[in-house]
Amino acid sequence: MEKKEAVEIVISAVSEYIDDESVQISESAILLGNDAVVDSIGLVNLIVDVESALAEKDIEITLTSEDAMSRRKSPFRSVETLADYIIELI
C-alpha cells in the first residue's frame, strides 16, 4: 500500500468520527495530547475504524499491539505517524 492511500484511510476515519464538515483534517492533524482533534475515547474509536477499513481491503492487522503501546514515540501522535505505522505493519 502507498503511503498516500494509508493517509487517506486515516483521514476519512477521523473525519467520519468527528462528523463536523467545518473541520478539515490534514495529514499533520494531531491525534494525541492537548492539541488533538479527538479525545482518548475518540482515538480508540478511530483506531477500531481504521482497522475495519483495512479489513475491508483484506488487510488484517492490529494497531494497538504491545509494540505500539511501548514505543517511546507513539505511532498514534498524528495522522501521518499512524499512516506510517500502518505501512510498517503491512
Partner: protein, 444 residues
C-alpha cells in the same frame, strides 16, 4: 401438619379451576387426589427428612408432589428442563432421591446412593422442618446450593388474600416462581402453564384463558413488543405485568406503558438468598421503586444495596455464608437513591470500566433500543490496550442494513444522549438472539 391450611382451602374449593396445563383445566379436587398419591409414594419410598430432587415443568403432578414433599418434611430440590449440569448439582445438594419427569408428565424414580450429612441439612432435620434447596446462578464460579427452611415461606401465606389468574412464567427451579406458585395455591387461584414460551404463544394463552397477571422478564416484554403479538391476540384481560430478574430498559417500559396504559407495571425484587420482597413502583413508567416490607431491612453502602431478612437462607451447602456478622447480605446491585425510592443501575459485575469511568450496560442498551431498525442490543465490555476496556455491543436488526451505516447511525443518535465513553466502540450485527432459555439477556 405443615400445609394443613392449604389442603383445607383446596377442599373448600374442590370444584374450582386450579391449573390449566396441556390445554386442559384441572380442578382443586384433582390436585388433592394427586397430592394424596404423592404423599403415600414418599412415605413408602423415601427416608424421613431426606433430600428429594424433582425435574419438571409446572404440571398438576409436579405441583402436587411439591406440596407432598413439604407436608412429608422432605428437602425439595427443584430442577427445570433448562438445567444443564444436574449431575453436579445432585452432588452439591446431597440429593438422595431423584424424581425425573419427562415433558409428557411421566416420571422415573432414582435412588442416587448419596447420604445427606451436611450440618445445615441436619439442622433442618432437628427442627423437623421441610426445606428447599435452590441454586443461586451467580455470575462467577459454581452455582451455589442455597438451603431455605420452608416453614418461613409458608407463614407468609396463612392470611388469605385475593389472587389474579396467573401464568407461570418462571421455571420450576426458580425461587421467585415457587413463591408465586405457593401464593396462588394457598389462595386457591388459577395457574396457567403455557406449553411453548414464545411471545406469540403466551399472548394467545392470555387471550384464551383470560389471564390477568403475567410475571415476566424485561427481555420477554421486549420480545412481545418486537413480535407485535399483541396485535394478533387480545391481551387486555391482563391487569398486572410484573417484571424482575434483570435490568428493565427504560425504553421498553415506556413503550409498553404507552401501548397498554391500563395494565399496571410492577417491578419485583427477589434474591435466592433472601426471598421475594414487597415492592412499590413510583408509577407505571418509572423505574424508581420502594423495596422492603416488614421482614426486610435495607441499607445502601457506597451505592450498593445491602439487605437483612428474617427469611434468609440457612446457608450454602457448597460455599461460605454470604452474610456478614450482623446478618447483612451484599446484593451486588448498584442503586441510586431518591428519598424512600431506589433505582437499580445494574450488577456490580456487569459494570464496564472504561479508563476509570463506569458504564452500566442497561443504560446504553436503553438508548440503543430507541434507534430505528434495532430490535435488541446486548452491551458488554471488551479489553482495550488504551482504555483498559471499551463498550461493545451485539445487535439484532429488523431489516438488512450495512454495519458501517448502522455504526454511523448509532454514533449520531447517541452523541447528545450518552457521554462519549459510553458509546459502543465495537458494533456487531448478530442473527441469533442474545436471550437465554429463561428469557434473560446474555451479555459476554
Amino acid at each position: 401438619m405443615h400445609i394443613d391450611f392449604i389442603i383445607q382451602r383446596f377442599k373448600e374449593s374442590a370444584k374450582d379451576e386450579a391449573i390449566i396445563w396441556n390445554d386442559t383445566v384441572y380442578d382443586y379436587q384433582h390436585l388433592i387426589d394427586r397430592y394424596e398419591f404423592w404423599l403415600n409414594f414418599l412415605q413408602t419410598k423415601t427416608k424421613a427428612s431426606s433430600v428429594v430432587a424433582v425435574r419438571a415443568d409446572y404440571n398438576p403432578d409436579s405441583i402436587s408432589l411439591m406440596l407432598a414433599l413439604i407436608e412429608n418434611g422432605n428437602i425439595f430440590v427443584p430442577f427445570s428442563f433448562a438445567n444443564k449440569d444436574i449431575d453436579e448439582k445432585i452432588e452439591s445438594a446431597e440429593v438422595e432421591y431423584y424424581i425425573k419427569f419427562d415433558t409428557k408428565g411421566d416420571f422415573e424414580f432414582i435412588e442416587t446412593g448419596i447420604d445427606a450429612t451436611h450440618e445445615l441439612i441436619n439442622e433442618l432435620k432437628v427442627r423437623k422442618n421441610p426445606g428447599v434447596i435452590v441454586f443461586s446462578s451467580g455470575s462467577t464460579g459454581k452455582p451455589k446450593a442455597a438451603l431455605h427452611d420452608y416453614t418461613h415461606l409458608l407463614n407468609k401465606f396463612r392470611t388469605k388474600r385475593a389472587t389474579l389468574r396467573t401464568i407461570t412464567f418462571l421455571l420450576f427451579d426458580h425461587w421467585g416462581g415457587i413463591n408465586t406458585l405457593l401464593y396462588i395455591l394457598s389462595n386457591t387461584g388459577v395457574i396457567g402453564v403455557p406449553s411453548i414460551r414464545s411471545a406469540e404463544e403466551v399472548c394467545e394463552f392470555v387471550e384464551k384463558y383470560k389471564i390477568e397477571l403475567l410475571p415476566t422478564t424485561p427481555t420477554f416484554l421486549n420480545l412481545i413488543l418486537i413480535s407485535k403479538a399483541y396485535l394478533k391476540f387480545d391481551i387486555t384481560s391482563l391487569k398486572v405485568v410484573s417484571y424482575g430478574t434483570e435490568m428493565m430498559p427504560e425504553s421498553t417500559l415506556k413503550a409498553f406503558n404507552k401501548l397498554f396504559p391500563d395494565i399496571t407495571l410492577k417491578q419485583t425484587y427477589g434474591l435466592t438468598e433472601l426471598g421475594v420482597m414487597r415492592t412499590k413502583s413510583e408509577s407505571n413508567d418509572s423505574l424508581w421503586v420502594k423495596v422492603g416490607g416488614e421482614d426486610y431491612k435495607t441499607k445502601v453502602v457506597d451505592n450498593v444495596l445491602f439487605i437483612k431478612a428474617k427469611t434468609s437462607i440457612l446457608g450454602y451447602l457448597n460455599a461460605a455464608s454470604p452474610f456478614d456478622s450482623e446478618g447483612w447480605y451484599d446484593t451486588g446491585d448498584r442503586v441510586e437513591q431518591k428519598g424512600e425510592y431506589i433505582r437499580f443501575l445494574g450488577r456490580e459485575n456487569d459494570i464496564i470500566n472504561v479508563g476509570g469511568q463506569k458504564v452500566f450496560p442497561a443504560e446504553v442498551e436503553s438508548v440503543l433500543m430507541q434507534i430505528d431498525n434495532i430490535n435488541e442490543a446486548s452491551v458488554y465490555g471488551t479489553t482495550n490496550p488504551i482504555m483498559g476496556n471499551v463498550v461493545a455491543v451485539k445487535i439484532i436488526i429488523e431489516k438488512d442494513e450495512s454495519l458501517n451505516k448502522l455504526k454511523g447511525k448509532i454514533r449520531k443518535f447517541c452523541k447528545d444522549k450518552l457521554e462519549s465513553y459510553k458509546i459502543p466502540v465495537h458494533v456487531e450485527i448478530v442473527e441469533q438472539t442474545t436471550v437465554s432459555e429463561r428469557f434473560k439477556k446474555i451479555r459476554n
